[in-house]
């Protein structure tokens, strides 16, 4: 039964398509881990730069992949080199060297690299730009974390705090530099991290009102958050939504960690941000991958609120298999959620508006697989598409401060079942009277069961009844009847569902032209398919012998059928462009002869000049006059030289770069030409040429 297999395949594809379109967010899984190994594969055992190395190592560490031993030797060499001579490297290099050191532990212990600390401390002191503050302050925080024998503190922490705060804008965004009025959300994330570092390095507590204004700034920043229809939230800017959002989340995490009074952020936004990163899927770009994983790690472990994600292993419920509906609740990395209960508050059918099939049903919990499940569905639960609305309730109210869940999670679910096909009949009717000429019951499980014959004055009627397991009329998404002539000409007709019946009547009198007057044997094929139909079918019912009138002269001929049905997907023949044929050039010698002839009048001109006794005796001899005269002639000569160069395309050539030296651009040429303005050259001429001219 190849047809049956195909039908099953169609259903599978449809089911997958529905799952793909649904906005169900799955936590980070093993597919991310295997992708990470590809994305962050080092070239020749090391990474191009320290920041790339940090991003790779950090991502692999968060995902729990241990590759440190393979990478540490080459990367550590770079780290030690930078840390040994901080004077020859930038603040950024030092910062990333320390970051990598934090993961690989290339250098640790009590001996604090003094020159690094002093470089970072002068960095903080001299900093004007946000990035300088960021690298130096975060660098000091890293030194403090990694080298135990230190007690680094910023003496003038409050002044540093104020000077960073001075870069903030009223809308919660930050500027990169005091001279640049452009503000950015990405910079805001960097600023929060920097300020968190300043707070943790401060010897005494920072003025509380300063921190309070910063918190108001964070609230304002959340006003500029953007939203997708499926409830995901993100920040967008020129750096791209992933980088920008990740930067803000990193900043918020560090800030919340350094500060004791707690950060009160809108819960739905936090869940929306988590859903945004989960919805990204697996990025192919290393930077995006790092930002996604790092931001999710910040959301997994933070001091404001940890989002819990509701996910479904499958969004298709089969009514025939009586499988339970399974729901999982976990953090973004799939680790266990605290004790909670999941309630299916509504199951909205997409067909009938507003009516809910299931109301307020609590899901049972299976501790072993950490899954919540709904075992039985109510009797009136039929096949079709539904939107399930879940609610999560935390058992312990103490957890409500730590964890945050979505108020309602809407999940599209499709319920599938076996559709019963009854009263399938195919009949040939007499057109004028409507009396039945021949009628056959159809058994759709068998192929080639029917053989009919009809002429152009008769009709073909196909009728069947489709019912759902609950006995309702089922309207399939696809129901086609295909007639295929011996000459491979195909015609497809739609089977319409009206009332209880699905019916198709073909009046051959009106169809003769469409059938190209082709008499003979037609194969009949019936297709019924739907995403919720488990027994979708593609069945060869049989054949019909049609007796149609002769083809008139003017009628259209049937189109030629390609021998290979897949050839219509083959690429079209390449279009060859016709260019103008270049015209014939004369022989080169001929052209050269005429070039010589062209020079003859010029020689004649020179001879004529000598005959006339022209001389340049009165060329100015005093230094000043001679210089300006030379300048004038030189100027004219230069302009002419410029023309020649332009002509041979040595300069001003924009499109021809092969073999010519690009010595300038059109704009340069234009400017040079503009300097020869009429007035200046005339004045020059009057001064320079007085003597020469009068002598002639």
């Amino acid at each position: 039964m190849m047809a049956g297999g195909l039908a099953r395949f169609v259903v599978l594809i449809l089911a997958t398509a529905i799952c793909g379109a649904a906005s169900v967010f799955q936590p980070i899984s093993d597919s991310h881990r295997s992708a990470a190994l590809d994305v962050f594969a080092p070239v020749d055992g090391s990474y191009k730069s320290l920041d790339e190395a940090y991003e790779a190592l950090k991502t692999l560490e968060i995902l729990g992949i241990d590759k440190k031993s393979d990478l540490s030797s080459a990367t550590c060499e770079n780290v030690v080199k930078v840390l040994a001579s901080p004077s020859s490297s930038t603040l950024k290099d030092v910062f990333y060297a320390l970051s990598v050191n934090g993961i690989l532990k290339c250098k640790s212990g009590e001996d604090v690299p003094k020159d690094i600390v002093s470089k970072l401390q002068t960095g903080v002191k001299d900093a004007k730009l946000l990035l300088d503050f960021y690298y130096s302050v975060r660098g000091l925080v890293l030194v403090k974390e990694q080298f135990s024998g230190t007690d680094i503190s910023l003496g003038d922490a409050e002044a540093v705090f104020r000077s960073i705060k001075a870069l903030s804008q009223s809308d919660g965004k930050w500027r990169y530099s005091p001279n640049n009025p452009e503000s950015s959300t990405f910079a805001a994330g960097l600023a929060f991290e920097t300020l968190a570092g300043v707070i943790s390095l401060a010897p005494s507590e920072i003025d509380h009102s300063l921190i309070q204004t910063l918190k108001t700034g964070i609230t304002k920043l959340f006003d500029s958050i953007q939203k997708y229809d499926d409830g995901t939230f993100y920040f967008d800017e020129s750096e791209g939504p992933i980088s920008t959002t990740a930067s803000v989340i990193r900043g918020l995490k560090s800030f919340a960690a350094s500060e004791s009074t707690g950060l009160n952020l809108p819960g739905d936004r936090i869940v929306g941000l988590a859903k945004f990163f989960l919805g990204v899927g697996i990025p192919g770009d290393a930077k995006d991958f790092f930002n996604q994983i790092d931001a999710l790690a910040c959301l997994e472990d933070n001091r404001f609120s940890v989002p819990l994600i509701l996910s479904l292993p499958s969004t298709v419920i089969s009514l025939t298999k009586k499988e339970p509906l399974k729901v999982k609740v976990s953090t973004v990395f799939g680790s266990k959620a605290p004790a909670l209960s999941v309630k299916l508050s509504q199951a909205l059918s997409s067909g009938s508006k507003g009516s809910s099939v299931i109301n307020n049903q609590e899901l049972k919990f299976d501790a072993e697989s950490a899954t919540y499940f709904l075992e039985s569905f109510p009797k009136n639960f039929d096949v079709g598409k539904y939107t399930f609305v879940f609610e999560i309730l935390l058992d312990e109210s103490a957890n409500e401060k730590v964890y945050i869940t979505e108020a309602q999670t809407k999940v599209p679910i499709s319920a599938t079942g076996a559709i019963t096909i009854e009263n399938a009949e195919i009949a040939v009717l007499d057109s004028d009277v409507g009396s039945v000429e021949s009628q056959k019951k159809l058994d759709l499980t068998k192929d080639e069961a029917v053989s009919l014959s009809a002429n152009h004055l008769q009709k073909l009627r196909l009728s069947l009844q489709l019912t759902t397991p609950l006995g309702h009329v089922f309207k399939p998404h696809q129901a086609f009847l295909k007639l295929k002539h011996e000459s491979q000409v195909e015609h497809i007709f739609l089977v319409k569902t009206s009332g209880k019946k699905s019916e198709l009547v073909l009046d051959f009198l009106g169809l003769v032209e469409k059938l190209y007057y082709l008499s003979g044997k037609y194969e009949i094929q019936l297709t019924i398919g739907d995403a919720s139909m488990e027994n979708s079918l593609l069945s060869n019912i049989g054949h019909i012998e049609l007796d149609l009138p002769e083809r008139p002269e003017k009628a259209a001929r049937p189109p030629l059928q390609p021998t290979d049905p897949y050839s219509r997907y083959v690429p079209k023949a390449e279009i060859s462009h016709i260019f103008r044929v270049p015209e014939k050039l004369p022989a080169k010698q001929l052209s050269l002869v005429f070039l010589g002839v062209i020079v003859l009048p010029f020689i004649g001109f020179l001879i004529g000049l000598t005959r006339l006794g022209v001389n340049i005796k009165s060329f100015p001899s005093s230094v000043g006059a001679a210089t300006s005269a030379l300048l004038f002639h030189g100027g004219i000569g230069a302009v002419l030289l410029l023309y020649v160069l332009f002509w041979v395309k040595a300069i001003g050539s924009v499109h021809d770069s092969k073999g010519t030296v690009f010595a300038g651009s059109v704009s340069v040429v234009r400017r040079t030409q503009n300097t020869v303005s009429p007035r200046s050259s005339i004045e020059q001429a009057e001064i320079c040429l007085k003597d020469i001219y009068s002598s002639l």
Binding site: P586, F605, I636, F646, W647, Q673, I682
Partner: protein, 115 residues
């Protein structure tokens, strides 16, 4: 009616020549220049007639360059001619500068049109 003979023609040319030799040298130079450029143009026209006019814009720009500079030279001659009272206020240096400038502009166009 006096019959015209070759002697008359010779006389005519002779008187023309003697009259012309009285013209100042600078005007003669300009005349020579005009003759030079007109001949150059004629050679190009002959080339076109004999060989063909395929890069037509090159031919046009070559001929127009010669004709144009000849016309400009004639203008210069009108302006620097001392017997022409119309331009007696105009300094010959100014006229020459005009000539140079117009030539530069003309040839800028020519170079761009040359292709």
């Amino acid at each position: 009616m006096v019959k015209s003979t070759s002697k008359d023609a010779q006389d005519l040319f002779r008187s023309l020549h003697s009259a012309y030799s009285a013209t100042p040298t600078n005007l003669k130079i300009i005349d020579l220049y005009v003759v030079f450029s007109v001949f150059t143009a004629l050679i190009q026209v002959a080339y076109m007639a004999l060989v063909g006019s395929f890069p037509f814009n090159s031919f046009l720009s070559g001929v127009l360059s010669c004709i144009g500079t000849a016309v400009l030279a004639v203008c210069l001659r009108i302006q620097v001619n001392k017997e022409n009272k119309e331009f007696k206020d105009l300094a010959p240096e100014r006229a020459f500068a005009d000539f140079v400038l117009c030539n530069l502009v003309l040839h800028l166009v020519i170079i761009n049109f040359l292709g």
